[in-house]
Symmetry: C2
Subunit: 131 residues, 2 copies
């Protein structure tokens, strides 16, 4: 890679859980994204219970040449995890990765397209319910 | 309402948090759904920290004539809250509302349309990131 060239990486950030099946929707999001943008460095990281954590995922993206990382919180609600926990994790990762910029997007639940898809899914559930 | 007629109700079910702003995306899903299906009895309920709880929301739907309630878990991952907690809450609500059937859908994160919207949102975040 040309060292002059700037490279964006995506870091999908989810909560994590003890049950490994919990990660499946997030892995599907990552797989779909990688299909749509095969050249884009992409990692899925977790707040707790699962690995990698945010710093490790950012390190992997940097190792693949990412100089600017977009953290995408795959959370519906914007609670304490995002309002206080995430900025702290990002500051820690940036301190360990000089020269890499890390920006954090809004929770996915703030996106109108995600809200529309959730409403559509609820309508499908209602339609599938026997009256 | 004709007592012979069967009526479906939708119960959107989210986690809840201490921060009231956390509920906003779920309220937007409810508002959008109500726009699309104004006649459909609809309630938003929470597992913890926020009200109403599942039983109270089901009671309100039943009071509006719902005889069959579709619970739509607005969760991305399908963890312990849904695998064990939710069936217990549903059993408790059904015990208190004889004659009302309550069915539980899969977590919203299992829906391909929701996965696609999340992937699309992540791409938008990456596009908005300065390289």
């Amino acid at each position: 890679m040309n060292p002059q060239q700037q490279q964006i990486g995506i870091l999908l950030f989810a909560h994590g859980a003890r049950d490994s099946r919990w990660a499946e929707p997030f892995q599907r999001v990552a797989a779909r994204l990688q299909d749509q943008a095969p050249e884009l460095p992409l990692e899925l990281a977790f707040l707790e219970f699962m690995t990698p954590d945010l710093t490790e995922a950012a390190r992997r993206l940097a190792a693949r040449g990412a100089t600017s990382i977009s953290v995408v919180p795959l959370f519906l609600g914007q609670g304490g995890h995002l309002r206080s926990g995430l900025p702290e994790l990002v500051a820690r990762a940036m301190a360990q990765l000089p020269g890499v910029r890390i920006e954090v997007g809004a929770a996915a639940g703030e996106d109108p397209g995600v809200v529309a898809a959730l409403a559509q899914y609820a309508l499908q559930c209602a339609a599938a319910t026997r009256p």
